[in-house]
Symmetry: C2
Subunit: 494 residues, 2 copies
């Protein structure tokens, strides 16, 4: 064996340098099983270092199973490398994991694969994704906050932290909710891994065979497989221009008594619609009367940029009937995976217990960084910027649609905020075209309406999202959309 | 209203300064509902700034629902503040969330509260907690890696990342597993929020009424409530000095055909025992023969510091029968919440789908920081340090026990690594003492044996963990332990 080369300038300890270089030899098999390594004394003399340094390196190699050490005799390369090589899973005789999965898990895998079709494709204009535009991320500012937060928090951020989420961030969120008319406190807030985990925890809390959840139709596409995964039954309530259809909701509450009513009053996904103040009040009264709690999804609460702000339903909640889910993902960035639930303490405690057993707790590091970011006023600043940017982008989208898409090809409403336009497509003849393929041929990705309801009853609708696109991309996208529809209708006319 | 005071040196934009100061007035109610704010023109002139800057501030206050704006007229304070005040949840009429929770969720809450008793108490020596000693955390090194990782990754770490986990870290883990004799690749690795999420995902995958899971008795206390939460039945297999009782396991495999066999071959929690090579081979053969997969928990794989390393069961797995869960939590620190699963691709895909609907994906930030940390050799360095430190701490603990605790008071085995000693306590008379209270009176926290098996059949055992304690604390703890037992037995003798 060649002598290890020692770099005395390196910050890396000598013993580690020795350990790593010997391991390289072992990995490259240039040291064979059973082969002798120099004794600690010999290697120490050859390198002109203390024996204990070599001994430490050998100790580690031995603890990692590379070498055998017997007192008095030189260490030898162990046989386990040989064994490693022999272990290769033979496909034929390999265990069938797919067969092991429960029917519910298999169904979730199917839904997962269907949604994967939304993945971005090269050269396409992507109206399908609801991800935020990374070009708008305040990366430098956030990194500074991350570093600062680690300086402040130190080891407290590296050990098990606050199960409910970094307290200063919860306090900030309580103040933030007050801006939206919601009076709450850090005790009533649970920080989650994105609002998705909030939805999951609330469903886990009520999950029981025979129970059901009332959902808007159409509704958030990732919520439906989650309901089924928990063995719950979705009950569809049509979502009109004004909000949820309250007369149908009342029927459903009376007849089925669902465990929760799930609603997105602002810039609803996928329709982009917002429920009126009257509709929100009516919904709350109905649920209060029937004693059915509300799961309010405020995923884009901050993204109001046309018209008057309407406070969330939670702002009118006098009975602690509403569990509110919020998120940083659709305003700032999703990669920190931070959302929150605002709910009465007994609900929060229950959710905490459920999360304790499924992941113990989240990491405090992104919480602390976000808190620093918010306290510096950078969050407000970013929201202002997003409002300016997307107000314009949405105006561009709506103008382009008006200009290039004929009313007899498609219809849509003008959203008051958010990123979504819900497009009702018209076919020239009786036959329903394959809309997705039609747009694909024009290099356009859209999200098919059938993803958004359990009964898949929106075949001639598509969801357009402008979250990922700048103004010129939006223009180009609408051009391609119009071209596809024009072609279809001219063919149809012939 | 007083004029906003503008700080021209601040990095904070003028429009944001105006916005924040007006908001303060609104929060302090020094501006009343309906009250007029100065027009953009007036305020701009008064402050000597451009109108658009004021307009921007007003725009934001309006978007946040603070003020009304009508073209041509000055903005007014909105009525929603008044509404906010009136909303306070009246306890009497408030919704009963506890009643809403499913029986399984309620049971989990109970288990959660029981485990909360392990929480650290002031002035106590804490042998109960298995948290790592924060005094050993390489905080500075990790912070440097975090900053560096953000520099390298930029916005790619802030948007939705790799659902399976940061790829370079997965590649590092694949190489790491090779050191333990496991041949794998990044494709077969899923990074999880601590190994706890790995356990949760695997149980979610198989969860179905009537199914069961074979567990060691005693076993990991956080795994048992998780099994019940999923509606699964735990089947207890006694864990002897050599490992799982294979004859009983064979019976159980034949009769009940569990969906998984859960095992911790190294420094088992709570016994600290390690299964022999022969026992591991026997376990694998049995499961292969009956076609039942193994969930191997390698939570302390790296923490071997006495005697010969035995490779994990996964290292012998030729049929892809083993799903292996690893973790950084018990070697480095738990606060990053990073663990991993090594399993065949079809299993990983299924788990990915399940996680997609419950939280979409984890944040890449800690993954990238850990990767930087590992690539710099700091992980190896830390492990060496931990080996040195805990080898000594464990020696101190075992020596102190031998010195101060009489064989007729208690018995224990000497673990080959890890942090745990499983103490079998002897009562002087027939009556079983309340061991927890006995030690509490001496200012000592221990973890009661009954937490570790579904049948709660270890009433006279306690788990001692040295993970949180330095040598002098361990000495003191053993003194207190011995004092408590001495007292008991002297009383008993009289």
């Amino acid at each position: 064996m060649l002598l290890p080369h020692l770099d005395w300038k390196s910050s890396k300890p000598i013993s580690l340098q020795i350990q790593e270089q010997i391991r390289e030899h072992l990995e490259r098999r240039s040291l064979r099983v059973g082969e002798r390594l120099p004794s600690t004394r010999h290697l120490a003399e050859a390198l002109g270092i203390h024996r204990s340094t070599v001994a430490l390196a050998y100790q580690e190699l031995w603890a990692q199973g590379w070498i055998d050490q017997r007192p008095g005799s030189a260490p030898r390369v162990r046989a386990r490398l040989a064994q490693m090589k022999s272990v290769t899973v033979s496909k034929k005789r390999s265990f069938d994991w797919e067969a092991l999965a429960s029917p519910a898990a298999k169904e979730a895998l199917g839904a997962h694969r269907e949604l994967a079709r939304n993945a971005h494709r090269e050269g396409f204009i992507n109206f399908a994704s609801l991800h935020m535009d990374p070009r708008l991320f305040p990366v430098e500012e956030f990194r500074a906050c991350l570093t600062k937060a680690m300086k402040k928090g130190g080891e407290s951020l590296l050990t098990y932290g606050d199960r409910q989420g970094f307290r200063p961030l919860r306090e900030f969120l309580a103040r933030r909710m007050a801006l939206h008319g919601v009076e709450t406190s850090a005790e009533e807030i649970l920080i989650t891994n994105g609002s998705q985990q909030g939805l999951d925890l609330l469903l886990r809390m009520v999950a029981q065979p025979g129970r059901s959840i009332a959902v808007e139709s159409p509704t958030y596409s990732l919520f439906l497989p989650l309901i089924r995964l928990k063995g719950l039954k979705p009950l569809e309530i049509p979502y009109g221009e004004d909000g949820m259809d309250l007369s149908i909701l009342e029927e459903v509450l009376k007849r089925h008594r669902p465990s929760l009513v799930y609603t997105m009053p602002n810039f609803q996904n996928p329709t982009g619609r917002s429920a009126s103040q009257a509709n929100r009040e009516g919904l709350l009264d109905l649920c209060a009367h029937h004693g059915v709690p509300i799961l309010e999804d405020g995923f884009e609460e901050e993204m109001k940029y046309f018209g008057r702000v309407i406070p969330p339903i939670k702002a009118m909640d006098r009975r602690g009937l509403v569990a509110y889910c919020g998120s940083f993902s659709k305003v700032l960035f999703a990669g920190v995976r931070v959302g929150w639930i605002v709910a009465p303490v007994p609900c929060i405690e229950q959710l905490l217990a459920l999360r304790h057993f499924s992941e113990i707790m989240p990491t405090m590091i992104p919480h602390a960084a976000l808190h620093e970011f918010c306290e510096r006023g950078l969050y407000d600043l970013h929201i202002s910027r997003m409002h300016r940017t997307y107000r314009k982008r949405m105006q561009v989208a709506l103008r382009a649609l008006k200009q290039h898409v004929q009313p007899e090809w498609a219809q849509w409403e003008e959203p008051k905020g958010g990123y979504l336009i819900w497009l009702n497509l018209k076919a020239p003849g009786r036959r329903k075209p394959d809309w997705e393929r039609l747009f694909e041929e024009q290099g356009l990705q859209v999200s098919p309406g059938n993803l958004y309801s359990p009964s898949r009853n929106h075949p001639s609708w598509v969801r357009l999202s402008i979250s990922l696109l700048d103004e010129s991309q939006i223009e180009e996208g609408v051009h391609r959309l119009a071209a596809a529809l024009k072609q279809l209708h001219e063919k149809g006319a012939r």
